[in-house]
Symmetry: D2
Subunit: 319 residues, 4 copies
């Protein structure tokens, strides 16, 4: 069988490596090149295949039908038109083209939200890991106008350290992270906020969103815990999510609260929601968990690529 | 120097062991007995001293000037009158006598909140680990009536596994916890809520409190992340906490967000607060961190015992 | 396609669950039943399939063409004849029938060592996790009589906590294992020794074997570090292993020392060997790593089952 | 009370920070300066005191009665004569002056081995972390000539990641170390070997020493597992160590095998030894555990400094 040639830019970071592994195991894709600037020339076994990272200068964009860019924010935007000019479709994993970035709009690859836009696109902006978890958790409320007008949505989320990238940093060394847990970007200053707010506003939700991320002493996984004021009482809470995501292959709605181990190494988000007991104003606690490198990055990118290439949406993805 | 004899009931759990260690290193206290039901006869080196756990039946309550009860909730309440009858003062680490428990009120040993009540007491109800972190974080707002009337306070908190006790459980085995992170008591059902709400109401705050705890893959530490709607804008946020806790030996107010490693093995709570950027309603993110076994349990218990016994409040406590 | 029905006894432990997951993903096998005594009636999602554990009394052995027994040592031996009587082949993961056990000999399922015996067998004794790593590391030396006669082989090995089973124990709780590392069975008293010595003696090696296992703060994986005195100097060390294991699908010989992350979730053993520098007597350091639940237990059991059932040896196994 | 002024060179690494913390809590020492090249100007709270790291150029060596050098190997040797010239005594934690380094001999600060030499010295070479554990474990056998002549001592040891230093490295990032365990310097190539062999030879032991270190997913601690062929059978094994180390404040001989959690944050080594069962040649398994940053580095350095300064040897050290 002829496989579709794929290029990966920025392949040596955590998301890039996960992309290499997913492409290696994908039934219809074949790796044409994988570039890495600082690690050029290094080899790695990813998804059971050996990959040699090439220098960006040695990339032959026209050999790829589709290019994944896992380049750093800022750098990625320069490569997208080059790939397009060489005839490749692009899934950009950076923040450069996402909603709220100020760039010219391209379809936002939150697949369950914008599947039809993605299907016909040439370039897709793959969502951030936190926004994937948080928006998938909140979309059923946004689209039903169930958030209390003028209310405040309080989001705390915790991520494994691969979310912070593979560049060596003193504060991410093992001895600094083990047995620790720490918030960051306190005071609503995380750069993923614009992306989430842009989608929320597009869905006519005027709530304030307060987002506090934390660093977990685990390698992989994001868990978001969201407190949402409701516009009105709701009888069957989970039914809202079950209805909204009926038939979705990568969304799991559970009664029991999800945990990282339910989702790591899988291209799924798992969501639960519970009405808060003992309070006067109807309020939900919504929990969403996913693997930041799979459904929160490389897995969702392949899900989008499958659509761009006319393949089965679930092809090559670990459910 | 003559030291004051101390008894510890329920000494073989995590809080009990921490109490043994603190008493062993305390300049004015001496361990008279340490009981443990299932581990009777076992020996352990705690705080550099060897302790042999005795059976509850072999406890001679009248040998102790003060008894710490680290017995399970429900069991502890039966022992408090026995210890009192034998002439000992009591610091009860269980939930049995805490605010919201329905028991006859005794001083609540949140030392920085109720120091004067504690000083003259015979029995003190030592706070839960989560309430210690969360109430110390919120007291400055409660006492200044700064929480928006009718607002919702969203608290997410994460605890190390020693908070779940030392009784073997499949879900707390190493292989089940490592690389995981999981919420529990979702939907505002944690039993610590009554304790927190009782104090909040006593301070005339009518807010809803939504509390979602999580289990961290660390041994020790609690970190609470609290989103609070403000009644009015505030200019200098940290000044509120600095003023409220001026001179407190065990409260640290920092600009930088605290992390577990700042507080473990110390009898301190570390707090920061930041105004949320980019929102319409003035909202604070308050973070508090402490060691669940020290400031959240045994350390605070010794702090209270020091007051009950007329000692220096800071004696024997790691700052 | 018609799949072969498989039964699993003792399915709720770590090895049992791994077996359930491997059978679920196996192209030619189908789970007929999975028994668990204490967890009867519980459900679990394993390998993407939901399994309900049945009570041992409800097991219908005659529905299975092959039974895996992951029952505890001692219990397993009673079930093997029952399964045989019902017409099923058996792969016994317990120690009951292994070399050195004193039981009537059955083929020893160290597949790379006894493939031909396994192929025609009705019952196979699946090796222990430590012996799999250590014997696969040493077989090339044993069969070539390269160990110094009268020498001492010093083996230290370290295992993740799943090797100790899923039954709750205080010393295996997360807070007891994190940030710890501890030897056990010091003084050559581990029960896996008989198994290793029996194979070594069968291959006419008279060396003393000193084995010291350790508990690692990881979920999965075994790494063995072996110091071996050589009968004579050796020029190309790795060539010995490469020749011995040429064509083996599940043995990887590497120049670089293996690490747990190279082997977890895979049915492989990875081995390196280096001549010790700066010593007078020729001595090798041999390192072997594998996943204790896969190549060290359930994976190897499926590898043997594939042979017993006339399937491709590699079928359904993650390489 | 007048305290003795102390300088620390290379204070921002893990050993340097531990030194700062120990000096801060020491009853007779006072920090005069703490230098750090790349982290100059940074502040840190260590041992409850705030330290500002100064640039090496701003160090005023003549303000210190004693200087600890925790500089990198190679750099340290240049500073020792400068400190001596300024009138300060020196404890050098680098390898530059240790036995086997080729440098002009100075007393080797393995305190329990060379206490009398250290007491009168001006410069002491503080031992490496691995050699401290391994030599303290073996000294009783060396001095009694109990190692089999011409035998091979097989040492495997595992260290927490702080042993690898605080300089950011990709392979020491949290996500690379968690759930992993890996050997390094396989084939007897670790640079600590010369130090150990030099001491062994000085004690007339002609054995081969094979040393294989490993990296543990923990922050602190070293555990060494040593297989030693005996010259003759020994009746009461532990009595050898108990006699050798009688009265030593920082050596604990235990029947039960030590574990990292017995020794972390303490200036002790804990040792056990057991005769191997079931072998023909009398062989011991000796286990030693210590905290690589305390007894294996900064703690032992303070122990030596106490002797150099005429203080109580145990002053300021956590037992």
């Amino acid at each position: 069988m002829h496989k579709i040639p794929i290029g990966i830019l920025g392949a040596s970071g955590y998301a890039g490596r996960e992309l290499c592994a997913l492409v290696a195991r994908h039934p219809a894709l074949d790796l044409a090149f994988a570039s890495a600037n600082e690690r050029r020339g290094e080899r790695a076994v990813l998804g059971g295949r050996e990959v040699t990272f090439v220098a960006p200068d040695d990339v032959t964009l026209d050999r790829a039908a589709l290019v994944f860019s896992a380049l750093p924010h800022g750098t990625s935007a320069r490569w997208v038109p080059l790939a397009r000019g060489a005839g490749a479709k692009v899934v950009d994993l950076s923040a450069d083209l996402r909603p709220g970035s100020g760039a010219e709009p391209v379809p936002y690859g939150l697949t369950e939200f914008a599947r039809n836009d993605v299907r016909g696109a040439a370039v897709v902006a793959n969502p951030g890991c936190y926004p994937t978890a948080i928006l998938l958790a909140l979309l059923p409320l946004f689209t039903r106008q169930l958030v209390a007008p003028g209310g405040t949505i309080a989001v705390t989320a915790a991520s494994g350290v691969t979310g912070a990238g593979f560049t060596p940093r003193a504060d991410l060394m093992f001895a600094e992270v083990t047995e620790d847990f720490r918030p960051y970007a306190v005071g609503n200053s995380h750069r993923h906020l614009a992306e989430m707010t842009a989608v929320m506003r597009a869905l006519a939700c005027d709530a304030d969103l307060i987002f506090t991320p934390h660093l977990l002493p685990v390698a992989r996984g994001i868990l978001a815990t969201i407190t949402v004021p409701l516009a009105e009482p709701v009888a069957d809470v989970l039914a809202i999510w079950r209805e909204h995501y009926a038939g979705e292959p990568f969304v799991e709605i559970t009664e029991h609260a999800p945990s990282l181990r339910d989702v790591v190494r899988r291209n799924v988000v798992r969501i639960t929601a519970h009405l808060a007991a003992g309070v006067r104003r109807p309020t939900l606690t919504v929990i969403a968990a996913l693997d930041n490198l799979v459904k929160g990055a490389a897995g969702q990118a392949v899900q989008n690529a499958n659509l761009l290439l006319g393949l089965e949406e679930t092809a090559g993805l670990p459910a």
